[in-house]
Amino acid sequence: MSRFPLALFALFALTLVLLGSAGTASAQQPDTTTEKNTIGSVDFGGRLFDVTGDAARDERYRDLRSGPVVDRFRYNNDEKTWVFSAAADHVGYRDQRYFADYRKGGTITASFEWNQIPLFNSTITQTPYTQVSPGVFRIDNSLRQGIQAGTLNLSNAEALAHQFDLRSSRDIAAFHLTVSPNKNLDLKLNVTSTSRKGAQPWAMGFGFSNVVEVAAPLNHRTTDVGTALEWANSQGLIRIGYDGSWFRNPIESLVVDNPLRVTDTTSDTSQGRMALWPSSSSNAINTAGSIKFPGRSRATAYISVGDWKQNAALIPFTINTAITPIPLPRPTAEADARITAMNYNVTSSPINDVWLNARFKRYNFDNRTPVFPVTNYVRTDQAVSPSILGGSEPLGYLRNNLDADASFTPIPFTALRAGYGREEITRTHRLFERTTENTLRGTIDFSGSALFTVRTIYEHSKRTGTGLDEQVLDSIGEQVSLQQFDIADRDRDRVSAVLQFTPIQQFGITGSIVGGNDRRPGAVFGLTHDNNRTYAISLDAVPGDGATFGVSYGFEDHQTVQNSRQANPGDQFNDPTRNWSTNGTERVHTANISGDLLKLAPKTEVHFSYDFSHSRGQYLYVLPVNTTLAPVSQLPSLFNELQHGVVDVRYLVRPNMNLGLVYWYDRYKLQDFALGIDTLNKIDMTTGVLLLDNAYRPYKSSTVTLRMTYLW
């Protein structure tokens, strides 16, 4: 925790006095503010941040460090023919943002934004590795020699470990320009450059139960360029455009020392090498058209033809010098996918109260990457293994969607809609070569009354697959009765209802119910059931002049069932007494209370809010009555709770200046066998596991901001 300097308070107080004096002086001048065309506001002051526990999780996407803050700046110069505006948020901090915008009436619009998004993983991460060059991690050789000789073990690595903050940042610079030479024509240019720098947890495996984590470097950039020429009049529109995207990653491989060995053999390696994200590009041209027809009808068409390419140089099969090199079938990836997308939409309201819509959408991901033939590969840089599939399987798919809807309005503002949708997907290199999903839906939407609004929808879908290739499953050693859940036969029901009731202007209530039920009737193994329910209610009230209150509560219930069979090769593989199931459950309570008291005291306003989220989950293993498996010891239940409270008090020093005190309270609690520190402490790191100690921990923090808001 850093201390809030007293000098900062002094500076703040001095500024307040000076501005207050200036305000008094200016108050004696004639009021000319209505003539102004330049206005602006600035929030500045000082912040004190105190946290106990996991500071990184608390500041995951934000920067709350103590110190002086210019938290918000806005400037607007509005002339008769043009407008310039500028904005800045969190100036100088890791989550800062700057924005500028220029608009000249109907001819030019230009804007620029620079936005930083931090991602803070951990403050307690530690590693004995040293990054000697980007992506190359070395560990002390004497340690490795000792471990290989049996005189040391991995616990000795702890003495070599150094602690560091694990974080990364996404910096986005975006420029947008629209030029309108005349009333009908627009030329658009968008350029965005996004860089990611820092590090992220990454693991290198050296065989079963031998895993090493390192802070893999991030230093890549994506440049996106989009252009469009668009012509429109009252009857229609036509557009042509181009979109290009280039991803550049100079660190395309990761090399990590095996902490257990210092020499290579044909069954063990002293180091591992892994491919990281390869540089790639995407280019697409597109055209769109829209035209009005009589009968309140419109037809819209869109076609895009694109190409994704990735041709990075391939690393060798292994870095293990004891293994005879396997020749690469080709030196570069030569990965290439042609993407064709098209949408056609016709909508019409030929008579009052009737609305018809039909849409066809086609998306073809035509993966033209040549098969990369592999007879033998090197498993985790340690052992030459035969490839079961004989090489790569470039996945491609073609999706055709057809939707048709008809809406009828029997009474004003009440739309009854019935619809049908059909999706056909044809794939290469997947279990089902083809799936078809038919969906029926009905909606009732009532929105015309000040008293209440109702929106409901019910959908029933049925997905079936054809061309099931069980041989593929058999060849890779999977149960042939498995149907991968994302493409398996599925019956789905979904219902959603939202009711907004406003009996009087000062009081409103909103309730919503959402339910979903997925069943996979043909699946013996894998995910068979997935049910969810959400209930939410919120109340908003304005009990008196200058006071508003809001309360909301939501409850979510999610349940899943998935089946498996624990087996070694041989008889066990077909033994149903070795079946087991997992019943997953999660229930989440979310609540919010908020209020504004604008006239609690003279010139004083109070705002408050409190957010609460509490999740409890369980994965419960279930064995059949005739099981031959050993009794299970159930996993501990999961739990996490987030609290965020805000009290914001403002005192109006002058009409254009207020002094404020903001207090934030944040708290996070958790019990999680997969993320928590308890599990991390149980892991035996003496045999072959060397982790970064990147775990979730509870935190509690308070943030106090003393600030002034000044407008001119």
């Binding site: 009021d31 503010t33 102004k36 506001s41 934000r62 607007n76 509005d78 008769k80 043009w82 948020d89 109907g106 947890p201 693991a203 890549h220 668009e230 429109a232 529109l237 892994m274 491919a275 994200w277 419109r298 994704w308 990735q310 391939l314 099969f317 996918a337 840089d381 399987e393 470039p394 996945l395 739309a415 909606t443 498995l482 859940f485 939202v498 919503s512 959400t534 979310t590 908020s594 209020g595 957010d611 989220s613 994965y619 299970v632 010891s633 159930q634 501990p636 999961l638 996490n640 987030l642 805000v646 009409p655 903001v662 066998f673 997969a674 599990t679 149980k682 892991i683 901001t705 808001t709």
Partner: protein, 317 residues
């Protein structure tokens, strides 16, 4: 001391924000600059064909005229605005019958009383470019939403886009409550920190993608527009990743790390049911194993989104 009413309005905009909106803006006040230049509804000479001109309108509707003057709609210098055309009547239609009828509201367009798609048709007579091209037939259109369901021409409360609520989050949550609830989970995108908003991914006006996603033509194209490193194509592809990112991730939020829809290894075990370790029961006796902790299966199968290594068929490398 005389106080500039515009400055007062600025203060009010900042101070009257509901707490939900403040939460979305990280607890700091939203004091939205609005056009301070007096884009007053300019006087126009009455014209033929039933039009009376804006100066006639504001004799009764002074409040609406003033509120409009603070918005882009009133910018006469822009030939695409209503004020550069027929003024108030560009949107509300010819007003002569309304005036002659002593303010008869049946003789003029009163948008809240119009059928939603009729409202949309008026707005789209100008707002027909970009994403708006795809509004008709979109999910919002099919649910009978009109432009004024979300936007306010005369009384906007947001800093941008003339929304009826101070922030996108406060607006969208009114109907999309389940998604908003998920944003409160411990694994979430930086929406509640104010670094993203609903429109970072979605285009409420319509799109060429599914689920009104703003970028691309399919779900994955939207995701990899930011997570470009996962675009590939790769030498070895993990099929569910190539099919759809949302097979494994819930972009709105999750209690599991990395927005996963279930914990690993349970998530992986929904598809991988073979022999040995993929179909092993990982119960409490395995808590000392690395196979339950953190990234679990992904500790070894690290390149789960796809591998460019010749030895990457199991995504180990």
């Amino acid at each position: 001391m005389n106080v500039d009413p515009k400055l007062l309005r600025l203060l009010c905009l900042g101070l009257l924000l509901p707490a939900t909106a403040r939460a979305a803006t990280a607890g700091f006040p939203v004091i939205a600059p609005v056009a301070s230049h007096a884009n007053a509804v300019e006087k126009q000479a009455p014209v033929a064909n039933g039009y009376v001109g804006a100066d006639t309108c504001v004799t009764c509707h002074d409040g609406e005229g003033k509120s409009l003057s603070r918005t882009e709609h009133a910018r006469v210098a822009n030939p695409r605005t209503p004020m550069a055309g027929m003024g108030c009547e560009s949107c509300h239609g010819p007003g002569k019958a309304h005036v002659d009828g002593d303010g008869d509201v049946t003789k003029i367009r009163v948008f809240p009383k119009m059928a939603p798609r009729d409202v949309t048709a008026v707005c789209m007579s100008c707002h027909d470019r970009g994403d708006h091209t795809f509004f008709q037939g979109s999910m919002h259109d099919s649910r009978n939403l009109s432009c004024i369901t979300c936007h306010s021409v005369h009384s906007p409360k947001s800093e941008q886009a003339q929304l009826k609520m101070p922030t996108q989050m406060a607006l969208c949550v009114q109907c999309h409550r389940p998604e908003a609830l998920k944003l409160q989970r411990n694994s979430h995108m930086p929406v509640r920190e104010g670094k993203m908003e609903c429109s970072s991914c979605h285009s409420p006006h319509g799109s060429t993608n599914l689920r009104m996603l703003k970028v691309g033509n399919y779900i994955n194209e939207s995701c990899v527009s930011c997570h470009t490193e996962k675009r590939g194509p790769f030498l070895f592809e993990h099929p569910p990743m190539r099919e759809s990112c949302v097979t494994c991730h819930d972009p709105h939020g999750s209690s599991n790390e990395r927005l996963l829809v279930a914990k690993v290894p349970m998530l992986c075990q929904r598809c991988h049911i073979g022999t040995r370790h993929p179909s092993t029961i990982y119960d409490a006796t395995q808590l000392s194993s690395v196979r339950l902790f953190g990234r679990s299966c992904v500790q070894c199968h690290e390149n789960i989104h796809g591998s460019n290594s010749p030895s990457g068929n199991d995504f180990h490398r």
